[in-house]
Amino acid sequence: MLEASHLKKSFGELKAVEDVSISAGPGEIVGLLGPNGAGKTTTVSMIAGLTVPDAGEVLVNGAPPRKQQIGLAPQDLALYEELPARENLRLFGALYGLGGRALDEAVKGALELVGLAGRAGGRVSHYSGGMKRRLNLAAALLHDPQVLLLDEPTVGVDPQSRNAIFENLLALKARGKSLIYTTHYMEEAERLCDRLTIVDQGKVMASGAPDELYRLLPAANLVSIDLETPERPLDLGELSGKEGVRTAERVNGVLKVGVTDLARDVPGVLGWLTAHGHSCRHIASERASLESVFLMLTGRSLRDQ
């Protein structure tokens, strides 16, 4: 059980992490989400003991963590490129005091877990980016830590390797590990994580299971309606006052209506449009995403900034 509470860290004037709390129980994957510069790596560094927090504390099973209890897969690939994968793992295992048969088995197990057993003799510099990422992950597992800190383990990884990594993480979860997983890919987080903490500019914006986060959104679904006569005026105020309609706006001539329940609320909206002499050319609906949660929380989109 990992509990990090009220972590703070400034670099000079810059408040990289202002007040971040995050926890992960056994068999739990907790996502730490945020855009570039949000303070994810800084938070992970404080948990790993690489950075001393200005305030706050980190506990593993109720006590300050020992390095043996934590496995870190850094965001920057942390591998000796000149050496074969196996030599890398043997070294990192030895750093945690593993030797002899225990080391052999740990290396073998980690290589199998990330699907690199067949290529373990090859130099890392000859590996593909995805293979390096997987090895980077394997290196964090050798000493069988209770807590795993994975800082963007899927950057630059093709979908196939990404799936392989996800399977690895789910296997670790099944073995009762506590995982912290940082990313700025919302769909990854949605798919993998039991709980999520969304950070922006060093602050926690929201935290909870994905379903709980969706509930923060005014509408779980967004219906886009192309009208035959987009130029005809429309009383958006009246529309938003209708039962089940949470939001209503016109964006580039397209009517966007947020509703909670498609089956229950959409017929009412369409009926209201017909009653006001509008006919629909095209209708589409999309499920709210964590992306929209983030947009709502920060007023900014998560990507490309």
Partner: protein
Amino acid sequence: MMTAFFALIRKDILIFLNDRKAVIMTIGVPIIIASFFGYIFDSTEHSDQQSRIPVLLVDEDASAVSRAIAAKLGKEKALDMRPETLANAREAVRKGKAAAALCIPRGFGALAARALFRNEDKPEIAVYQDPTRGAETGMVKGIVTGAVMEAVSQAAMTDAGSVEQALRDAESGRDMPSDVRGPLVELLKGVRKLNAIAAARPGQPAAGGFSVPFTMRDEMVTARNGAVYNSYAHSFAGMAVQFLLFFGIDTGIAMLYMRQRGLWSRLRAAPLGRGTLLASRAASAALISFVILCVMFGFARLVFHVKIENVEGFLVVSAAFSLLTATFGLLIAAVGNTPEASRGIAILAALLAVMLGGAWVPTFIFPRAVQQVTQFIPTRWAVDGLDGVIWRGYGLGAALTPAAGLTLCAALFGLLAVWRFRWNAE
């Protein structure tokens, strides 16, 4: 902790061996440069050719005496003497093709023979010299003096005509104080008698005139009688010291680069103390340096016949210098900021130390004041120590002095490095 320590050393060695370029840079390049320097300074290799002093002789006299002088100079091992006309000779000296040119003027033989007994009317040998080759010219003058004395005195005393002429001059007493005249006449008469006796007994040397009353036997003073100084010994010691320092710098810079990479986080996330990390780095670098030293001198032994007179001493000095090199690297890793800037400063420091330590040219060439100062430079202890155990005949005891100095210095560097090294949470 030991597991981690040895795993880190193993890693460093594997990485070093994996990098072909690094291996060539740290072993091949110093061997090549040391071979070159050794060749340049090799006195046995070309003492018969290049290192003879080129001298030109202009014989305007063409007398028996001047020919005798030319013959004697021609036999001199230190000189490469050739006859030349005056104009050509001056030109050759001006162009640096000869160190000096000597001109024996017309009438020199006769005048010199006369002047032998009188302190006046001395003929002149003009010495045209290259101003940049003062030392060599001085040597030439010394050799010429000997040759002229031999030739002139021989002619003056064995040639019957010369003796009679000198006797007549003395008896006529022109320009000569009367108290000198009597004894001189007696002397010359004695010479005439000696010559007559010598002529009656063929095969016996005549009175012979003066000759340099001694000969010199050259012996190089080295470890034991007959152990030959080998300029390759010094050049290999010097270049090994220089390139191992460079190797030390590289290890330090590599650590600075690693600081900027994810690997640093991985190492720091592990239960690894800075003592273990630094000690392992020092140990691996020292081990590699030591092996490089052995390989270099193995090469020198095989190819240039550099024989190490005191093997234990060599191992001790080498080990101490290897430690110094390794901790020098650590110090750079500890105090360095950016790798780029640190590399520049470190290389400058190393080159200065190497130059003042006598790795390029032996320290005895330095001015006295500089020599004094360089006594405090560890690279000098290393170079002198290696020279000492290889050919100067240091015993193990004498080798321990530079080795202890180097080790102390290494310990100091190591402590500074551990103290300054930024490792724990930053």
